[in-house]
């Protein structure tokens, strides 16, 4: 039992974070709680001996995705908007339906999992899992990897194109100074 | 090439770091309470009043002429003349200040009072680590605290004190000669008949 304490802790962080992320009103708080849930998940991976996955989980989800969410909230003024009950639940029935569907599909896959049938959980003995992952990615799964890479590059390019805005000459944006400049040019002093 | 200027800067600071252990030029700070730089003779902080001999009540050079009071830019000096005159160092009857106060919290240490004083009475001090626990009474420096002996003045401004002492010695000698001559002149009517008799 004492050996399970770290697991319960991590599970509590994950579940608590996830619930808080769902239920809190302040969007920035939600995002931060979601990051907490991601980190808890990483801790669970670590306990299962999946170091590489744990590291990737923290690096990608906590380090990148959570930051992305936070940025998105701030850039779209989401942090300021006070959500009303109506905004949060346009149609309760649809929500329930989605929850049911998700739960059913999760339960189905868990029930069919072989680890439920097995009385003792046998961890596969893998030496240097990171190396194995690398080798697999570079051999058997090289095509999917490259495809994902290409997709991400395209997405990034698209993002850049979207983000480029025609920059008006910021320096001349201030009215008084523009007038002053003009006056100067008219006076033609050099 | 990128970085060459930065490396130059690194060499410069590295040199300063290393030299600070060997070259006194590169470690210029003075450890204040333990070490103190000797003050320059001209250094000025706040004014004080010079008195001759040992008794400030008698030897105070100030004649309450109030020039410093007039000229003080922030107006931090207050003088009230005494009602009776006393003889000064040459024996001339002069007023002395009954009240002489300087509000140190207002004084900016410009030294104009010392510059305009015709009696070499008000001079600038070297004390600087002054402190007080309240800002009314202890900031108002009265005559008693302002008066400092000529020996002290000599110790902080030796060159200036030498000049002033010489000048005052001369004046005193002149005055004494004058009184002697006057005394002689007074005595002369008594001798004249003798002279006349001799004549």
């Amino acid at each position: 039992m004492p050996n399970n304490i770290p697991f319960y802790l991590a599970a509590a962080v994950t579940l608590g974070g996830a619930i808080a992320a769902m239920s809190l009103r302040n969007l920035v708080h939600c995002a931060l709680c979601a990051a907490g849930a991601f980190a808890g998940l990483g801790a669970i991976y670590l306990q299962l001996g999946a170091e590489f996955v744990a590291a990737a989980q923290v690096l990608v989800y906590v380090g990148a995705i959570a930051m992305l969410i936070v940025f998105a909230i701030l850039l779209t003024r989401g942090g300021k908007v006070k959500l009303t009950a109506r905004q949060t639940a346009p149609n309760r029935f649809v929500g329930f339906l989605i929850v049911l569907l998700v739960c059913a599909s999760l339960a189905g896959s868990i029930l069919r999992s072989p680890s439920l049938q097995a009385r003792t959980l046998a961890l596969p003995e893998v030496t240097a899992p990171a190396q194995r992952i690398g080798e697999n990615l570079m051999t058997a799964y090289v095509l999917p990897l490259e495809t994902v890479g290409l997709l991400l590059t395209a997405a990034m390019l698209g993002a850049v194109v979207l983000a480029i805005r025609e920059e008006p000459e910021a320096r001349l944006r201030s009215e008084p100074t523009a007038q002053r400049r003009q006056a100067l040019e008219e006076a033609n002093i050099s | 090439m990128l970085g060459s200027g930065i490396i130059k800067g690194f060499i410069e600071t590295g040199r300063n770091f290393a030299e600070s252990y060997f070259v006194p030029e590169r470690l210029t700070t003075v450890q204040y309470p333990e070490e103190q730089l000797p003050p320059h003779e001209n250094t000025r902080t706040i004014p004080f009043l010079v008195y001759d001999a040992s008794d400030p009540a008698v030897g105070l050079r100030c004649t309450a002429c109030q020039i410093c009071e007039q000229e003080c830019p922030p107006g931090c000096i207050r003088i009230v003349k005494d009602t009776t005159k006393k003889p000064d160092f040459v024996g001339k009857m002069q007023f002395q200040p009954a009240v002489f106060e300087i509000d140190i919290s207002v004084c900016m240490g410009c030294g104009i009072c010392a510059e305009v004083c015709p009696f070499d009475s008000i001079k600038m001090d070297h004390v600087f680590n002054l402190c007080a626990v309240e800002r009314l009474e202890s900031m108002l420096v009265r005559k008693e605290r302002l008066a400092k002996s000529n020996d002290y003045f000599r110790s902080i401004h030796p060159r200036e004190a030498r000049e002033i002492d010489a000048q005052r010695g001369e004046e005193k000698a002149k005055a004494e000669a004058k009184t002697r001559a006057a005394a002689a002149a007074k005595a002369s009517p008594a001798t004249n008949p003798v002279c006349g008799a001799a004549a």
């Binding site: 936070v70 240097a128 | 770091f17």
Partner: protein, 397 residues
Amino acid sequence: MNWLDQIFVTSGHQLVSLAPASLQPAASVLLTIAAIMAVCGGCFALTTIIERKGLGRIQNRRGPNRVGPCGLFQPLADGLKMLTKEDIVPSSADKAAHFLAPIILTVPIWLTFSLLPFGRNMAALNLDSGVLFFFALGSATELAVFMAGWSSQNKYSVLGAMRAIAQMISYEVPLALATVPVLMLAGSLSLVDIVQAQGGYALGFVPRWNVLTPWGLVGFGLFLTAATAESNRSPFDLPEGESELIAGYLTEYSGFKYALFFLGEYLGLFAVSGLGVTLFLGGWRAPLPILEWAPSWFWFGGKFSALIFVFIWARGTLPRLRLDQLLNLAWKFLVPMALINMLAAAIWHLSPQWGGVFTSPPMRWLLTAAMLVFPYVWLGRAVNPRAGAKREYAYAE
């Protein structure tokens, strides 16, 4: 001399063996944690005073020298001051995030120390994906910085946090890329294996440290630059650029929370320095065969201190970059350089198999060095177009 080398390991084992058998694993864990926290905490205190004294010397001053002998107890006095200061929370601040930010900042940084091999057999954890884990923990601190800046509800704090995040995200990329050649050649992500791979001596006396190869040297330079930025040290201290943003995301922090940020910052510096030592400077290995008698942890400590001194030196020398210049440097110089460096490392690694002239070490040296010098000059010019064009000043008659 082996006992001295392993003194911490053996004494640790002995201490653990005092505990009842059932509690020994837990005792071992606790002991390691306590040791790391004590050593790093002590280093933190020592570094603050050494930094201030070193900066003082660079600036022709003495630095703090009043508390205790040579001012050595200054950190204690500072700590006491921090602890007793009033903890001010702005009334409009987001209290929870404001409170949690310093904690969230320091925790992942403490975790990174468990991965560093401080000496022979002296790594608390030998994770198979150590370097990756290291970067993962490093990236977790960004969230804390954001929380600090956002929760303070201060414009300077928000600007500082934005700068910090932009900077940390940008510099994570070159930091990771600069380490890739080392991982490639060591064939492992484990820090212990990487130190193993740097063992032995070429020609009998030149250590096989990564920094002593062309790609290693460049990689080390890139790593050092990116690490400085990642730990928000001068000349990349924009997030808390005192002359611009007062204290950046720390503006609204005081007392012990401020001290925690301070601690986190220094620990981050230690972590990347330790990583730099491990990846490029041969970890705990001695620089010469005849110096092998000294304990391994001594060599790690020595290299580590030297690296810290370099950081202090830079802080005393360089002005701060601007945000756009900072990002330009990352994306237009460090990242391409790191990619080219990877190529050079690959050629260095593979060229002996090609036979012919490539088998001779001088040839490999020349080839990879040339591969790196030209891009360096070219990219350097691109990132700093004004360099080289020295301005001339006329005098009026």
